[in-house]
């Protein structure tokens, strides 16, 4: 049972139908192969660009499709159900494009956002460092002012796409310690001093490359600074608010795929003379899985609706990310269980789904950080 589209407007339903066609015919059949080889599915990103799916929520004047953020998330959910790493790649790309759209000057939007939105370029995001993960405000990468430029030195970790990204949003310290001393910069691929030091080997999402990056005397012109000096942490956090809804949509898509696989398997698989889905114990598991997924879906769509209406949504984005990714972990684990031995072997996709769900609980703020954000919003205001 794919997501219910009956209440969507005609245009959104047509979009979801199109993405489902593309996802089922081209993305899903390729997913297992790419995940096994670890190869980045660049060809599929190119197709996303042809279908106008690389800039869904950005204005048409900057190469986007001019649709709502909710519409964009419908796309992410459908892609994630077919091929999670591809949806993650699109989500990270959009995170970078969002920062340029929201905090960039008009000139920066024309130069940098437009090629991202058209999918001619892919964007990425570099915040985490070896010693600064959840405590991102303590990051150590320096950006020294030198004339009309900055010179960046430091190291970034867990950077999706890394040095292969066409544009990389890098947070670095221009001032004193703490969040207020941080600025953000947009760095182009191939810049002197930007080096992919190590491509990480991972539990899942193997075809979404994760890099450790070295920044050595990397010169960035002032025109590539986003916002004012000292705005960097605010930009980074606002981008994550937005990105977290994307991760929540990824989690819902992944969980839906796991549920669909579990329903298909348990209605086919016969034991004791009947499909195992006839067992009440199995049905109750499926019922819980489906109900949790639908609740998670409503949570991210609520956050997106608030965002589209111009309301604050930090709290709701954190709730959606926390809940949806925990649901994905539980549902994918149960999907493996419902497949029995077949769930534990690579012939069926559910073991991959279970490995993939783990990453969603960690990225763009661990689920412990989400609770911190939610708790702070409840007790101190957002």
């Amino acid at each position: 049972m794919p997501a219910d589209t009956r209440l969507l407007d005609d245009e959104s339903r047509a979009l979801v139908d199109m993405v489902r066609d593309f996802a089922s015919q081209e993305a899903a059949p390729a997913a297992a192969g790419y995940e096994a080889s670890g190869e980045d599915p660049i060809e599929l990103y190119r197709k996303l660009a042809e279908l106008d799916l690389t800039g869904v929520p950005f204005p048409e004047e900057y190469g986007g499709a001019g649709a709502s953020y909710l519409t964009y998330l419908l796309v992410v959910e459908e892609l994630a159900a077919a091929y999670l790493a591809l949806a993650i790649g699109l989500s990270v790309h959009t995170l970078c494009a969002f920062a340029i759209h929201t905090f960039g000057t008009d000139a920066q939007r024309k130069e940098l956002l437009a090629p991202l939105a058209r999918g001619e370029m892919l964007g990425a995001y570099a915040l985490s460092e070896p010693e600064a993960g959840s405590d991102a405000g303590s990051l150590a990468t320096r950006a020294e002012r030198r004339g009309d430029s900055y010179v960046l030195n430091g190291r970034k970790v867990f950077c999706t796409r890394g040095a292969d990204a066409d544009l990389l949003l890098v947070m670095a310290r221009t001032g004193g310690p703490g969040p207020r001393g941080i600025s953000s910069f947009v760095v182009s691929k191939g810049s002197q001093g930007l080096v992919g030091e190590r491509k990480e080997d991972k539990l899942g999402w193997r075809s979404s490359p994760t890099w450790m990056l070295g920044l050595t005397d990397l010169v960035v012109p002032e025109s590539r600074r986003l916002g004012e000096e000292g705005d960097g942490f605010r930009i980074a956090m606002a981008s994550l608010d937005s990105g977290r809804l994307g991760i929540a949509a990824c989690a819902v898509g992944l969980a839906q795929a796991a549920l669909d696989a579990a329903i298909a398997f348990t209605t086919e698989r016969e034991q004791f003379g009947a499909p195992v889905a006839h067992q009440e114990g199995v049905r109750f598991m499926l019922a819980d899985m489906a109900t949790q997924i639908e609740a998670a879906r409503r949570l991210y769509r609520h956050g997106a609706a608030l965002r589209d209406a111009g309301h604050p949504y930090t709290l709701q984005a954190a709730q959606a990310k926390l809940f949806a990714t925990d649901v994905a972990m539980r549902v994918t684990t149960d999907a493996v269980q419902l497949h029995g031995g077949y769930g534990y072997i690579t012939e069926y996709p559910v073991e991959r789904y279970m490995r993939e769900a783990k990453g969603l609980q960690i990225v763009e703020g661990t689920n412990q950080i989400q609770r911190y954000v939610i708790g702070r919003a409840l007790t101190e205001g957002a």
Partner: protein, 253 residues
């Protein structure tokens, strides 16, 4: 080049069909653009890309059939026409051809493209009847359009191979599945479709009366297709060769 493509809104073929007496149940059933028609739309769009002009998608059906027209528009067609009228309920192939021909004949055209047959009715007679009513030649079972302009040169698929046929415009063309790879509607295409002109016409609008669309075909009885489940096991050293021969004979390879 003025290109017309016939599109049909059919019950989703991925959902088991339900009958409503002796006609297919259509109300309350999720519908789609006939997958066979996507090849026709793609062929029309390719002709437009080569020769310029305009692609008009034409459909007959209940009001919901505008969805099929819109799908063609989102793929890139320029305008849409839907003929819908209560008198058309239960229309047979002759009535459909009469209605489409009347609607199409209102404007000059160079080529009308249709699928070889629909994926719900499968009569496979509508396009030829329509060509006759329009008074233009027909090129059927086309799996390759070699060149075109004032005249078309096409490959007409036959059981043995293909015929190469040339024909001056205007004409009616039926295309096979596999003539091309239909494009996806892009998101901008989907959004643009909303703003493209569509006309919804009644029988009177195309100059027909209910008498003109009297159904003359009578479906006497319906039978389920009997599934054949004959299985032949191929064993032995020459098994591979025999399977290859079998597949070649079935024209799969």
């Amino acid at each position: 080049m003025n290109i017309v493509v016939c599109v049909k809104y059919i019950p989703d073929p991925n959902v088991p069909n339900e009958m409503d007496g002796k006609t297919l149940k259509r109300e309350g059933v999720q519908g789609v653009l006939d997958p066979g028609d996507e090849y026709g739309v793609e062929a029309a769009l390719q002709l437009k890309e080569q020769h310029g002009g305009e692609v008009t998608a034409v459909s007959m059906g209940p009001e919901g059939a505008i969805e099929a027209v819109r799908r063609a528009l989102s793929m890139g067609a320029d305008r849409g026409v839907l003929i819908t009228d209560p008198a058309l309920h239960g229309a047979d192939a002759l009535v459909t051809a009469t209605v489409l021909a009347a609607a199409i004949a209102r404007n000059p055209f160079d080529v009308v493209i249709a699928a070889v047959e629909s994926t719900d009715g499968y009569t496979g007679t509508m396009p030829m009847t329509m060509a006759e009513l329009l008074g233009v030649p027909q090129l059927t079972f086309v799996n390759e359009i070699v060149s075109s302009g004032d005249a078309f040169r096409v490959h007409r698929q036959t059981p043995e191979g293909y015929h190469v046929i040339e024909c001056p415009t205007p004409l009616v063309l039926t295309v096979t599945a596999g003539i091309n790879e239909p494009r996806y509607a892009s998101f901008k295409g989907i959004m643009a479709a909303k703003k493209k002109p569509t006309e919804t016409l009644s029988l009177a609008d195309i100059g027909l009366t209910p008498e003109d669309v009297t159904v003359q075909q009578d479906v006497v009885d319906l039978h389920e297709v009997e599934e054949s489940r004959e299985t032949e096991l191929v064993r032995g050293d020459d098994a591979v060769a025999r399977i290859v021969d079998y597949l070649a004979e079935a024209k799969v390879i």
